[in-house]
């Protein structure tokens, strides 16, 4: 049985420090409703470690209810808020207000009639993502035009944060799968511009969606996590929410160890594996030889028939000797293999014992047979 790796105190401290820093940068009360709803969803997905953050943002859902009720217009801000509110409610396992899916559909129909202008739902990956998440939460399909807009916006240079959001949202829709790859690439595209929150967004994306795993190398995910852990505090409220989710999920899972320790741990694991393999191999072969001894008479009869011999006794003795010798050799080699897995080479005397033992076992068996 392998020994479990336990999170080191350093690992716990590093991750929790990130969670703590993220909490300080989360959207404040004056932040846009859309941002607070996103923070609520992230906190809800973050697990027990950030349960207080869920309570902090729970009001956002009530505010969304009021805002959508009182100020409804089928426009971009309302579509984004209703989409994000649906998604947040789903993350909380809460039943959303019953007319929200209809409102989202109504807004999308109105927005579809608009001409493409500089400002619109299709020009903003973060707004698109909110709507796509909402559609997923309401079990609605993403309209073609919205996916076309998503494809177009991915051609443009946008922040990793917004693109990561879009990649996550697209991954929720079967019809959006074809775009996920380019969205993930866009989110992970190196850009040292003002996009200082990029590592957080990338870590969040990698930790949130299994669907994006095959688009990313382990190295890319490791790098994103490492960069997020060492990066300065997130600048943006949304990035803080992202890192809150990713880091709180990682709390209790990450290990921080020195390379020597990690190397020794890995060697131990490897040795255990090799010893076990030697044992399994020996056991399998031994079982075969034992079965052969049990059916020794049948084997000798079959062998004599093949060469048309009338006397089966010599064949029985030869087979018994060979099987017994092989059994003895296998047993000895399994022990030697396990010893080698732990770095202990077989001494010469042991080799001699192995050879002698094999011969003696074979001779005795032949004599007895």
């Amino acid at each position: 049985m392998s020994r479990a790796l336990h999170p080191s105190p350093e690992a716990e401290a590093a991750v929790l420090a990130v969670v703590q820093r993220a909490q300080e940068r989360l959207p404040d009360r004056d932040a846009p409703l859309l941002e607070r709803l996103f923070a609520l969803e992230c906190a809800a997905r973050g697990g027990r470690a950030v349960a207080p953050a869920v309570e902090r943002y729970r009001d956002a859902l009530r505010e969304a209810e009021w805002w959508l009720d009182e100020t409804w217009e089928p426009d971009v801000p309302h579509a984004a808020v209703v989409g994000q509110a649906l998604s947040a409610a789903k993350a909380l396992d809460r039943t959303p207000t019953s007319n929200w899916p209809a409102l989202l559909e109504q807004a999308l129909k109105a927005l579809e009639r608009r001409s493409p202008t500089r400002f619109g739902i299709g020009g903003d990956p973060a707004l698109l993502a909110a709507v796509l998440r909402g559609l997923d939460a309401a079990d609605l399909n993403a309209p073609e035009w919205l996916l076309a807009d998503a494809a177009a916006v991915l051609e443009e240079r946008r922040s990793a944060e917004a693109t990561a959001e879009l990649a996550d949202a697209l991954a929720r829709h079967p019809s959006g799968q074809t775009l996920v790859s380019s969205a993930v690439s866009a989110a992970f595209r190196g850009d040292d511009w003002t996009d200082v929150d990029a590592p957080y967004a990338r870590w969040w994306l990698a930790s949130r969606r299994k669907e994006v795993d095959h688009h990313l190398s382990t190295r890319a995910v490791d790098d994103a996590r490492l960069q997020a852990l060492v990066a300065a505090d997130p600048l943006d409220g949304k990035a803080a929410a992202m890192v809150l989710e990713a880091a709180s999920q990682a709390a209790g899972q990450l290990v921080i160890a020195s390379t020597d320790t990690l190397s020794a741990e890995r060697s131990r694991e490897e040795r255990r594996t090799r010893a076990a393999l030697a044992g399994y191999r020996g056991a399998f072969l031994s079982a075969l030889f034992v079965v052969g001894l049990f059916v020794l008479n049948d084997l000798a009869h079959a062998l004599a028939s093949v060469v048309s011999a009338s006397n089966e006794q010599p064949f029985r003795q030869a087979l018994a000797g060979a099987l017994a010798a092989a059994l003895a050799f296998t047993f000895a080699e399994s022990i030697a293999g396990a010893a080698r897995a732990y770095g202990r080479e077989q001494p010469r005397w042991a080799k001699g014992v192995e050879v002698v033992g094999t011969v003696v076992a074979g001779a005795i068996a032949a004599a007895v047979a």
Partner: protein
């Protein structure tokens, strides 16, 4: 908050209300015309027509013309509509002031009567050894104001008394021309001198100067009338500060700019609110008794205290309403991030279009003559690295990159600038900064390097931003703010959007601002009013600048152009937004009338679109003060006074600055189908925060400001080869005219 007072002096009529003061009859345009041209008008009688009625009355000591003596019915004082009483009060005050020695300079119906008084020469404080006949004097204007509604019913009336600074340049036109003063298009008034040979000396306005011999006979035109000849010796210019500065500079060799600045300072000191209010109170006592009609006199009460109320129920006069709340600006498209202060909000949230499709790699070129190389390098440093609190363009606007290489050229002449900016425009730059000096504004017509460079760049569809060496010579403590404003204008001119007016509950709305520039057209040798329009649309809860139009002259089929403009914008709105607007709001530079109504109704047709036609008047003679015990100050921004349900005064100026007490007057046309005046006032106030010429609020709403700037800029650039049609074409979607 103290008590609000208006510079309106309520009229206390002493006579018996049943006294018959005039006659009234159904309006007859032919008769109106005859009465208007009667030589006895204004001396023996006067009349006014409004809607379907005409009212005429005898002036003190005068009689009605024989033609109307038995016409219609008699009208008693108590039945006389307030607008007639207001008119009579204004004329009574003019006669009273004339008796005190003031000269009537302008007397147009519906406008304040301008009275000149040469007693306190403010220019003497700014310039030593002023020649005779040259000065800046305090002047008075008076106008009647019905206190309830539009004055069509009998009611209380007040007299508005305003003070201003009048520049007097009683110098022969020939002498002014020799001093280099450009007389073309300058308004003239009659100034008969001793020995004048005019047989029937006229007074007041004479019209605008068209041409001729300034030492002999000149050509004038008044309004849209025919040109006429007049002896130059009987005319004087209606001067302004710059004209006076040029003339004085030609005499004493002092810099023109220095003199203009000194005159401005002197005028600003006079504009000090408490001092002006004290002067007003003295004027009340001085005006004494006014003769309104034959046998009817009135006195003036103390300036009107404006009571505060929360609504207009039972309104009997001007009412101070709750201040307009500070409109919020939005700094993030789609997920509003709000602040009521543009500079702070931008610092906190970044620009509105960050994360959207915008010019986020901003390539600029700085062009300057070699003589200004030092200043140009300073500008380059400031724009790229910042100065004090201004962090530089890249940081301030969260740009991916900003570059501003420097290009120097040898001669600071018109040709030098033109060639240099033309070269810069071919480098693929988004914007060209060019360094000028303030003196260029005094360059002769057609030789202004600033305008020449601007025209070249506008024609090439490249945004431009001029910065003067005087601006760059300011101490850093001031230059940091100027630099911030320059960067804001530059960011906006390339088509980016730093912030917008947020209006979360507005509906589908289209706002047009129609502004005016008065221009001289050398081809027609006449003055024209050219108007320009800027458009703002409400989209996703924000008002976005949506373009400008080709400015056109009001003489050129104004109604048809307005109708086409509205129709095109409604169609564009419907195409962009997927639905027609619910509402049209039109800010107009002039009093609204049948021409605008015709245009709107034609454009709307049978569509279900409400409209509000709003006259935005920034030259109203009304002003407000706040008194708190003995302390008199200009009211805070947002202070609102309702003169009637559709007529509001709105303070938009900074209370610490001169003329801050002067409000905007917003008058809703009574044919408007959208009448939510509170919302319209709030919206107009909000638009004062989106001028993008600086972070400070402007005094007027940006749509009408943009319309005016557009018309002005096009007019300035046309002589330098700029094609006005470009203003709506390639340039139309950017506020290039800022």
């Amino acid at each position: 908050m103290g008590d609000l007072y208006l510079n309106a002096l309520p009229l206390l009529v002493a006579s018996d209300p049943t006294t018959v003061v005039g006659r009234s009859w159904a309006r007859d345009n032919g008769l109106d015309e005859r009465l208007r041209s009667s030589p006895a008008r204004g001396i023996g009688f006067d009349f006014r027509s409004q809607n379907r009625d005409t009212f005429a009355w005898a002036l003190p000591g005068g009689t009605l013309p024989a033609e109307v003596v038995g016409r219609g019915t008699e009208v008693a004082l108590k039945s006389m509509p307030a607008f007639v009483l207001a008119s009579a009060a204004r004329d009574g005050a003019v006669r009273r002031l004339q008796a005190e020695g003031l000269e009537l300079r302008s007397d147009r119906i519906g406008q304040p009567a301008q009275m000149s008084r040469r007693k306190n020469n403010l220019a003497a404080k700014a310039v030593k050894s002023l020649p005779d006949g040259v000065g800046a004097y305090t002047a008075l204007s008076v106008q009647g104001l019905p206190l309830v509604g539009d004055g069509s019913a009998p009611g209380d009336v007040a007299l508005i008394v305003d003070q201003s600074v009048e520049h007097i340049l009683d110098v022969l036109l020939g002498e002014l021309a020799r001093a280099g003063v450009d007389l073309v298009n300058v308004r003239m008034h009659w100034q008969h001198r001793s020995g004048c040979s005019c047989t029937s000396p006229e007074a007041g306005d004479a019209g605008r100067y068209l041409g001729g011999d300034p030492a002999g006979v000149v050509q004038l035109r008044d309004g849209g009338g025919d040109p006429r000849s007049a002896p130059a010796a009987c005319l004087a210019v209606q001067a302004n500060r710059w004209m006076m500065a040029r003339y004085l500079a030609s005499l004493n060799g002092r810099g023109e700019r220095d003199i203009a600045e000194a005159l401005k300072q002197a005028a600003d000191q006079f504009g000090d609110t408490p001092k002006r209010w004290q002067n007003l109170e003295k004027t009340v006592a001085w005006l004494g008794e006014l003769a309104l009609f034959d046998g009817v006199t009135a006195t003036l009460a103390a300036p009107l205290l404006v009571p505060s109320k929360s609504n207009l129920a039972g309104q009997r006069g001007p009412v101070a309403l709750p201040s307009v709340p500070e409109g919020n600006l939005n700094f993030h498209y789609g997920a509003p991030e709000l602040h009521d202060n543009a500079a702070i909000g931008l610092g906190r949230h970044g620009p509105y279009d960050e994360g959207q499709s915008r010019t986020d790699v901003l390539r600029a070129v700085i062009v300057a003559p070699e003589a200004f190389a030092g200043e140009a390098r300073k500008l380059q440093n400031i724009l790229t690295r910042g100065l004090a609190r201004f962090q530089g363009v890249k940081e301030r606007y969260h740009l991916r990159d900003f570059e501003a290489p420097l290009q120097l050229f040898p001669d600071a002449t018109r040709a030098g600038y033109e060639n240099a900016v033309l070269t810069a425009s071919k480098t693929g730059a988004d914007i060209v900064f060019f360094v000028t000096k303030r003196e260029f504004r005094y360059a002769p017509r057609g030789q202004n390097p600033y305008l020449a460079a601007k025209a070249v760049l506008a024609s090439a569809d490249i945004a431009s931003q001029a910065v003067t060496i005087e601006t760059l010579a300011q101490p850093d403590s001031m230059l940091q703010w100027s630099s911030d404003s320059v960067a804001l204008a530059a960011y906006t001119k390339v088509g980016n959007i730093p912030y917008v007016l947020h209006d979360p509950t507005g509906g589908r709305e289209l706002v047009l601002g129609v502004g005016r520039a008065d221009v001289y057209d050398p081809t027609k040798r006449g003055r024209r009013q050219r108007f320009g329009t800027s458009v703002a649309v409400r989209q996703d809860g924000d008002f976005l600048f949506a373009g400008s139009t080709t400015p056109v002259s009001t003489d050129e089929d104004y109604e048809t152009h307005m109708a086409r403009l509205l129709d095109e914008n409604i169609a564009r709105y419907a195409a962009d937004q997927g639905a027609e607007p619910e509402r049209l709001v039109i800010y107009l530079f002039k009093k609204t009338g049948r021409r605008e109504l015709y245009a709107i109704k034609k454009a709307i047709g049978n569509r279900d679109i409400q409209f509000a036609l709003l006259h935005v008047n920034r030259h109203s003679p009304l002003w407000l003060v706040e008194r708190n015990g003995g302390r008199i100050v200009a009211p805070q921004r947002g202070t609102t006074v309702a003169l009637s349900i559709s007529d509001r005064l709105l303070i938009t100026g900074d209370p610490r600055k001169p003329a801050a007490a002067h409000p905007l007057r917003l008058t809703l046309d009574n044919k408007s189908t959208y009448t939510q005046m509170d919302r319209l006032v709030k919206q107009a106030y909000g638009f004062t925060k989106t001028s993008y010429r600086g972070f400070l609020q402007s005094n007027e709403p940006s749509p009408i400001l943009f319309g005016r700037l557009l018309a002005q800029k096009v007019e300035q650039l046309v002589p330098y080869g700029f094609n006005p049609a470009s203003a709506a074409g390639p340039l139309g979607d950017k506020p290039w005219f800022l």
